[in-house]
């Protein structure tokens, strides 16, 4: 439990890791847009996915992340992806049937492949962001990107603080969960047998102590923050400043190249 890392941050000292988190977030969005820009008409449009795949491979190589890790990132959604592809294959009635009176059409097959590639590429691209950027950096990046929302009175600082405190407490609460499970097990609780309802019910003696202790922690945290003069964003300074560098420019140009490539194919 101690070694748990949120998301899937893969610490490495690479060009991409050192890029500004804000730029990486924006470029990830640009990449996703690029994947959705791939034209959707005939089989030849599949070529549009080639630059996207190349982009993912190149970024993975530059960030020194084993490509197999990037591929594995689709594990969690693979069921969903295959399901939507199958639905397209079996239930898409448009287009011409592949054989006489068959229910599988060429259009269905085409759509299935298209959806499959699109989702897989989006997830792989997004995973590159979480592989190369620590959760703290992502939270800071989001705070900085949301700053303009202060104009419409959106509590940007508070939002970012809540996010970073949540991240900070994930390992602590996991430890706590581990301890509660051990304590309950030692008193004879059984979490592994019975049907799904029995198992779900067995979770109650874990969740309730966890909930109560979270409230206690929140209370103590509030006192500790008060004691350290916390008063919201008013008159607050910031120790860490994010700086753009040449790296971010290069990354941006490279992503622009991808979008141009996709638009031409």
């Amino acid at each position: 439990m101690k070694e748990f890392s949120f998301g899937s941050y893969y610490p490495e000292n690479s060009f991409v890791h050192k890029m500004d988190a804000r730029v990486k977030i924006l470029l990830s969005i640009a990449y996703i847009v690029a994947v959705f820009l791939v034209k959707n008409n005939t089989w030849i449009n599949y070529l549009g996915f080639v630059p996207c795949l190349l982009f993912v491979i190149i970024v993975a190589v530059v960030s020194k992340i084993p490509f197999i890790k990037v591929v594995k990132s689709i594990k969690t959604i693979i069921f969903f992806v295959i399901l939507s592809a199958l639905l397209q294959i079996f239930f898409n009635k448009s287009g011409t049937p592949l054989w006489k009176n068959g229910f599988i059409t060429d259009k269905g097959l085409y759509n299935a492949g298209y959806i499959f590639l699109r989702i897989v590429l989006v997830v792989m691209g997004a995973s590159l962001l979480t592989f190369t950027t620590s959760p703290v950096e992502i939270a800071d990046g989001i705070e900085s990107l949301l700053t303009p929302l202060k104009l419409i009175k959106f509590p940007v600082h508070e939002f970012a603080l809540v996010m970073s405190i949540a991240l900070r407490f994930i390992p602590t609460l996991l430890d706590e969960t581990d301890r509660i499970i051990k304590a309950q097990t030692s008193r004879g609780a059984d979490f592994n047998s019975g049907n799904i309802f029995k198992k779900a019910k067995a979770l109650i003696p874990i969740l309730i102590p966890l909930l109560i202790s979270s409230f206690r922690r929140a209370d103590e945290l509030a006192d500790a923050m008060d004691a350290r003069c916390y008063a919201g964003s008013k008159n607050r300074t910031k120790y860490k400043k994010m700086k753009l560098s040449l790296r971010d420019l290069i990354g941006t140009l490279f992503t622009a190249l991808l979008i141009v490539g996709v638009c031409f194919l």
Partner: protein, 274 residues
């Protein structure tokens, strides 16, 4: 000069029972004061009264000339009096050590460059420079608590209140914290108020207050306090081991002298007997 004056202070949570009853004492600048009591003696309530997390129901606490009931001076008081709580896990706000220490100075609007200097200073004082970029989750209990102390030091307080800051630590962690606190008091002249229920932690103190049911039951130097073995026991506290052995020896008819604090003194006293 008194840095904290506690004047006839009472505090109640629910208006029926007083957690702190009519307590008065002064803390002088640079003093090391220990407040000791068992669970429910009101000592943690007292800790929160020092930095205006609570305001006394009756009476008044004056910190460096400012009454804690002045709402507009809240942050001035909290800058002067830093509190280190029992569980460092619940006091650390950031996922990186230096970010956590920066939290206090950021709150009071210290400039960026100076925050950097304050982090250097705070980490050096608690001897944790090596861990500046680490995640607090990977540290031991004693190390985490040292980070929590550093987080308070970064506000440059005149007084540090330790609210049972060693209660959750192993003996090694406890010793680390006690050493840091002693150093702070002796070398930097920071006034220390250590709240605890471990008798052996009051040995470093200049003055000890024993709390019982919200009232001061005993006060004096550690030596004076430890002479009152019977009274301490009746309050539900334990003497440090050396004092306890000395008392048992006396009861068994061995004439060792009064007011023994640690094992060195006990050794000396036994050797004198011949």
């Amino acid at each position: 000069m008194s840095i904290i004056e506690v004047k006839n202070v009472s505090y109640t949570y629910d208006k029926t029972k007083f957690a702190v009853k009519n307590v008065s004492f002064d803390v002088k600048e640079g003093e090391y004061v220990a407040i000791i009591g068992h669970n429910g003696s009101g000592k943690s309530t007292l800790a929160k009264l020092f930095n205006a997390l609570f305001v006394p129901t009756n009476g008044e606490i004056i910190v460096d000339g400012i009454s804690t009931s002045q709402k507009d001076k809240l942050f001035e008081i909290r800058k002067k009096v830093g509190v280190v709580f029992q569980n460092p896990d619940n006091g650390i706000v950031a996922s990186i050590v230096e970010d956590d220490i920066a939290f206090g100075p950021e709150n009071i609007g210290v400039k960026r460059e100076e925050i950097g200097e304050r982090i250097d200073f705070a980490l050096k004082t608690v001897g944790m420079e090596k861990f500046r970029y680490s995640s607090p989750d990977r540290l031991s209990g004693g190390q985490k608590q040292r980070i929590a102390i550093a987080g308070v030091l970064a506000l440059k307080p005149k007084v540090i209140v330790l609210d049972e800051s060693t209660a959750m630590l192993d003996p090694k962690g406890r010793q680390e914290i006690l050493n840091v606190v002693k150093k702070l008091n002796k070398e930097q002249g920071v006034t220390v108020i250590a709240i605890t229920h471990y008798m052996d932690e009051v040995l470093n103190a200049d003055k000890v207050y024993v709390l019982d049911e919200g009232e001061i039951a005993l006060q004096g130097t550690p030596r004076e306090i430890f002479k009152e073995g019977a009274k301490i026991k009746s309050i539900g506290l334990e003497l440090p081991l050396a004092s306890f052995i000395a008392e048992k020896l006396r009861q068994a008819g061995v004439p060792v002298k009064d007011g023994i604090l640690d094992k060195e003194e006990l050794k000396g006293a036994i050797c004198e007997l011949k």
